[in-house]
């Protein structure tokens, strides 16, 4: 935890040190938002909750703005995305929590569109990397090139790669070679790039939203466990319902382009992230989350029966961190001021499904990962 806190402090340093023009422009853009109109709608419920003799909150507008921002963001995304409410909520949750998301779904369900719309709505520099088997690490991170100035002097200049953005779409990440996938490890975890012994820090907030196709596994390279662990969430994007499909068809008849407008800026995201950290969580809920993660380890004697029966290996400590961090964000997103068991249970699926491995018993019983997670939750309660 201490190490984690230090990283967070470093994030602030990075923010100060690595302000780029384009990022600064994005940050300034958020000042133009006008929460006053939204305040008329959202302040009232807060006032109703707060009794007259309640202690004064120093800056309740932060909390109000949080709710407003979330609502606005959803509203803008709904212009481009039909359905997928839970997926959208989880993506927003992960972004505010500062994590990366892996979206898995069949082609055409809107994974890339979601990320692109998100990029527009967040008013953050966005880049897309299409992973192919011939993609090289330097294609992602950037490389040094030789430049000649006016005087004919030659010098090495680092040409930044597409990874240098705030929101990165790593499309079909499993098609890249392990070498290229490995280049993403440092980026996703530490938000920095090291090329030729030179470290370049990425601007905050930084997110990687990766996609992968569950079918067409030929010619793909499954992501290593270490990289999978870097993703905060793994979200399954299902085929839309008939009604949703009809909505998609109707919408795209008008235009195929994303029409989402700016809703939240990068600075605001960071503020929201800081605010979410202050959401209280009681020890019992924390213990529940910790116990749930511990119960995914079959090698532990204290773990539950389902783990011993159905799992090959369990989730890393990052899973417990992700559960609590995202639970705080989720609580605020839904208008609650504390973390509850429901939040932990709801987030257990996206947090754990890519971090645990089923064994042969589960396969023979035709159990999915989500089924096993449900069993783990029931046995932990």
């Amino acid at each position: 935890m201490k190490r984690f806190k230090k990283n967070r402090q470093n994030e602030a340093e990075i923010t100060e040190e690595t302000v780029e023009g384009e990022v600064a422009e994005g940050m300034e853009a958020e000042e133009e938002t006008a929460p006053e109109a939204a305040a008329e709608t959202y302040e009232e419920p807060v006032r109703r909750v707060m009794p007259a003799d309640a202690p004064k909150v120093e800056s309740p507008e932060k909390v109000i703005r949080f709710s407003q921002s979330i609502a606005k963001l959803k509203e803008e995304l709904a212009k481009d995305i039909v359905g997928m409410e839970e997926t959208v909520d989880n993506v927003i949750c992960a972004i505010i929590a500062g994590g990366n998301v892996l979206l898995e779904g069949v082609p055409g369900v809107g994974k890339t569109r979601l990320v692109r719309s998100l990029g527009k709505a967040l008013n953050l520099p966005f880049s897309r990397i299409q992973f192919t088997p011939d993609l090289m690490p330097s294609d992602v991170t950037g490389s040094n090139i030789i430049e000649q100035d006016e005087k004919g002097k030659m010098s090495m200049v680092f040409q930044r790669g597409p990874i240098f953005a705030n929101l990165v779409l790593a499309d079909e990440i499993n098609r890249a070679t392990p070498k290229t996938q490995a280049a993403m490890l440092e980026v996703m975890q530490e938000h920095k790039v090291t090329v030729s012994k030179q470290t370049y820090k990425l601007s905050e907030p930084f997110f990687v939203l990766a996609t992968q196709n569950p079918i067409e596994q030929d010619g793909t390279y499954p992501l290593p466990e270490a990289q999978m662990d870097r993703f905060m969430f793994k979200l399954i994007v299902n085929f839309p319902t008939s009604k949703e499909l009809a909505g998609i068809v109707n919408m795209t008849q008008v235009t195929m382009d994303e029409t989402a407008e700016v809703a939240v800026g990068g600075e605001e995201i960071l503020e929201m992230r800081e605010l979410a950290k202050t959401v209280p969580v009681i020890d019992d809920v924390l213990d529940f989350a910790v116990e749930l993660v511990s119960n995914t380890h079959p090698e532990l004697e204290s773990s539950c029966a389902s783990a011993h029966k159905y799992l090959k290996f369990g989730a890393s400590p990052r899973a417990a961190q992700a559960l609590i961090t995202c639970a705080k964000v989720r609580a605020l997103m839904y208008g609650n001021y504390n973390v509850s068991y429901d939040d932990i249970i709801a987030l257990a699926y996206p947090v754990l499904r890519h971090r645990i491995k089923l064994n042969y018993n589960a396969i023979t019983e035709r159990l999915t990962v989500d089924d096993v997670i449900t069993k783990l939750i029931n046995e932990t309660k």
Binding site: V49, D284, Y337, N338
Partner: protein, 635 residues
């Protein structure tokens, strides 16, 4: 070595520090809730929970108290143990306090428990728990969370009592009440012959003195016998010794209980003592037992033939039982019994053949097809010179069967009576009793043989030449005309037999009187022991006083009332008759004397002021019979 020691020390210190840190973290965790700043709304909520916990604890405590008292009560009742009421109360209250206290410790609501319960019951998503845990924290979100939690608490609806949460308490209470009620309602263990007496006593010096007095009386009896010229007038030495041993053992039991203070000797321990003392005395009161049996049944002599046989049999049973018990007690082998059996068989053959011969002749005479209405029937051969009415086949069968049954019964009685008279038995009992029974049996057999024809034959016989008499009843309730003669003969036989036991000679009277004395002593001991335990005393009518000798009429009434009968303390001033107002007959006064004495003892006041009319009548009749009319009862 030094390096490794240092490492070990370092590891130990690290572990100790980690353990301390763990403890501190645990304490900190608990104190988050216990030291939380709680709002007024939460206080009210907690108070409701506390009230519920108190009520549940009270229910558990009271149930436990009732349960304990009920178990104690049932155990005492079924075990026949007496426990004071205060101990039930103490046990119940102690149990109630302990169980109630322990229950309250478990149910006592802590801040966390209340918060957790409310969150779970009302689906508040851990808001109340969070507000408590972070009651001292600062921060916008935390403050807003606390405020919202408080508003939620304020808006909580009235808490419904769910049956699923309280059914255990209801069940416990019901079971406890049921057990307590059962302990009250279930009757206590019945004590043999207690009849309202105490289930036991905690003996004191007074109780022990009573038994000591009885032992002293036995010692005095021994002393008197040894110094008397007629030792046979006193209790036998073997008897006094055996009874003294029993009473001494019983006295030791009482003494032991007295020394232990408050230990109770149950009534059940008394009856074996009484029974053993009774048995010892019974061995010396054989005549009395026979006389009692025969005397009691004497009034049934007017019954039908089967009853006639039964009363003979009763007397014979009494004697037979005595003989067998005495032979067993004195270690006699089965030789005497074998002799008895052989003799019984022999006499049975003789008696049976004699009766069968006569009965077969008699039965033959009943067959109507061989006879006509005018055919004379002689008694010796079964025909009495009288005409015989024609009977139906069913009536014949019934009459035949009845006759056979009666004769068989009479035969059994005679055989039984005769079976006792063997050379072996002669040595076991008084010769006079043997002779009396022998004479009685012989006389009885003679009566039967001479009159067997008339025992069950209906009175439908007529003198020869007369018209046939109407048929009489065949169910045995109507008596044949010769029955009067038979009754007179058997009555005389009984009187003779009884006289032989009682008045037939000097020894008879003395023996019976002596045995009455034995029985009186036995009753004296038994009543004293019963009185110690508050048990009902034996009725004085159980042992009938010996029949006094018939003497001259009294001077005033013309009968000799100056003669006395009995000996020792059991002397009666006469043999006169007295009017019995209950039956309207004149009876020998000694027959009603006991009854009179009982009434006198219970109801007769010293000054005679509260006599009832009936009592006055009896007394008047008594005095009239003694002193002539003109005497009156009263002062």
């Amino acid at each position: 070595m030094k390096h490794s020691l240092h490492n070990e020390k370092y590891v130990r210190e690290r572990k100790a520090k980690a353990k301390d840190a763990e403890k501190r973290a645990e304490l900190e965790k608990r104190s988050k809730y216990s030291d939380a700043v709680i709002s007024d709304e939460f206080k009210k909520l907690k108070k409701k929970f506390l009230t519920g916990a108190i009520i549940k604890s009270a229910v558990c405590g009271v149930s436990a108290g009732l349960f304990a008292a009920g178990v104690l009560l049932l155990t005492a009742k079924l075990g026949g143990i007496k426990i004071d009421l205060i101990w039930y109360i103490i046990a119940g209250v102690a149990c109630a306090l302990v169980c109630g206290g322990i229950t309250f410790l478990f149910l006592k609501p802590s801040n966390k428990k209340v918060a957790k319960t409310v969150d779970g019951e009302y689906g508040l998503r851990e808001q109340v728990q969070t507000s408590l845990a972070f009651s001292r924290a600062s921060g916008d979100v935390v403050i807003m969370q606390r405020a919202r939690a408080e508003s939620e608490i304020k808006a909580l609806p009235r808490r419904k009592i769910k049956f699923s949460a309280i059914w255990q308490y209801i069940l416990i209470a019901v079971l406890a009440v049921a057990l307590a009620v059962a302990g009250i309602v279930v009757p206590g263990k019945a004590v043999e012959g207690q009849q309202g007496g105490e289930p036991g006593v905690s003996p004191d010096r007074h109780h022990i003195d009573i038994v000591e007095m009885l032992i002293k009386e036995l010692n005095d009896e021994d002393a008197a016998r040894n110094s008397s010229a007629h030792p046979e007038d006193f209790l036998d030495e073997a008897l006094t010794s055996a009874v003294r041993d029993e009473l001494s053992a019983f006295r030791d039991v009482l003494d032991e209980a007295w020394k232990k203070h408050e230990e109770i000797v149950p009534s059940e321990q008394v009856f074996p003592v009484i029974r053993r003392v009774n048995a010892l005395f019974d061995g010396y009161t054989d005549y009395l037992q026979i006389a009692q049996a025969l005397t009691k049944n004497e009034t049934t002599i007017n019954g039908p033939a089967s009853g006639f046989g039964d009363l003979i049999k009763a007397g014979g049973d009494a004697y037979r039982t005595y003989v067998l018990l005495k032979s067993a007690k004195e270690g006699k082998d089965d030789q005497s019994n074998d002799n008895l059996t052989d003799y019984h068989s022999k006499m049975s053959e003789i008696a049976l053949s004699a009766i069968e011969r006569k009965s077969s002749d008699f039965i033959k005479k009943l067959i109507p097809e061989e006879e006509t209405e005018n055919t004379p029937v002689s008694p010796g051969s079964g025909n009495s010179g009288e005409t015989k009415k024609e009977l139906s086949e069913t009536e014949q069968d019934e009459r035949t069967q009845k006759l056979q049954d009666d004769l068989a019964a009479i035969n059994d009685v005679i055989n039984l009576a005769m079976a006792e008279f063997d050379e072996g038995t002669i040595n076991l009992c008084e010769t006079s009793v043997t002779e009396a029974l022998n004479e009685f049996a012989s006389g009885l057999q003679k009566i039967i043989e001479d009159n067997s024809y008339y025992f069950t034959v209906p009175s439908d016989k007529q003198e020869a030449g007369n018209d046939p008499a109407p048929a009489a009843e065949t169910d045995g309730t109507d008596e044949p005309e010769h029955w009067e003669a038979i009754k007179n003969d058997t009555s005389q036989l009984f009187e003779t037999f009884f006289s032989a036991l009682t008045d037939g000679g000097e020894n008879k009277t003395e023996s019976l009187a002596k045995q009455s004395y034995y029985k009186a002593f036995d009753r004296h001991i038994e009543n004293n022991i019963r009185s110690v335990f508050g048990l009902e005393l034996i009725s004085p009518d159980i042992i009938e006083t010996p029949e006094p000798e018939e003497g001259d009429d009294d001077d005033n009434t013309g009968s000799n009332n100056q003669d006395t009968s009995g000996s020792g303390d059991l002397k009666f001033p006469g043999n006169d008759e007295i009017f019995d107002p209950f039956t309207g007959e004149m009876k020998k006064y000694y027959e009603v004397l006991n009854q009179y004495n009982a009434i006198k003892d219970d109801q007769f006041p010293a000054d005679g002021s509260d006599l009832t009319d009936l009592e006055r009548q009896m007394l008047e009749a008594y005095f009239n019979s003694l002193f002539g009319s003109g005497s009156s009862a009263g002062n």
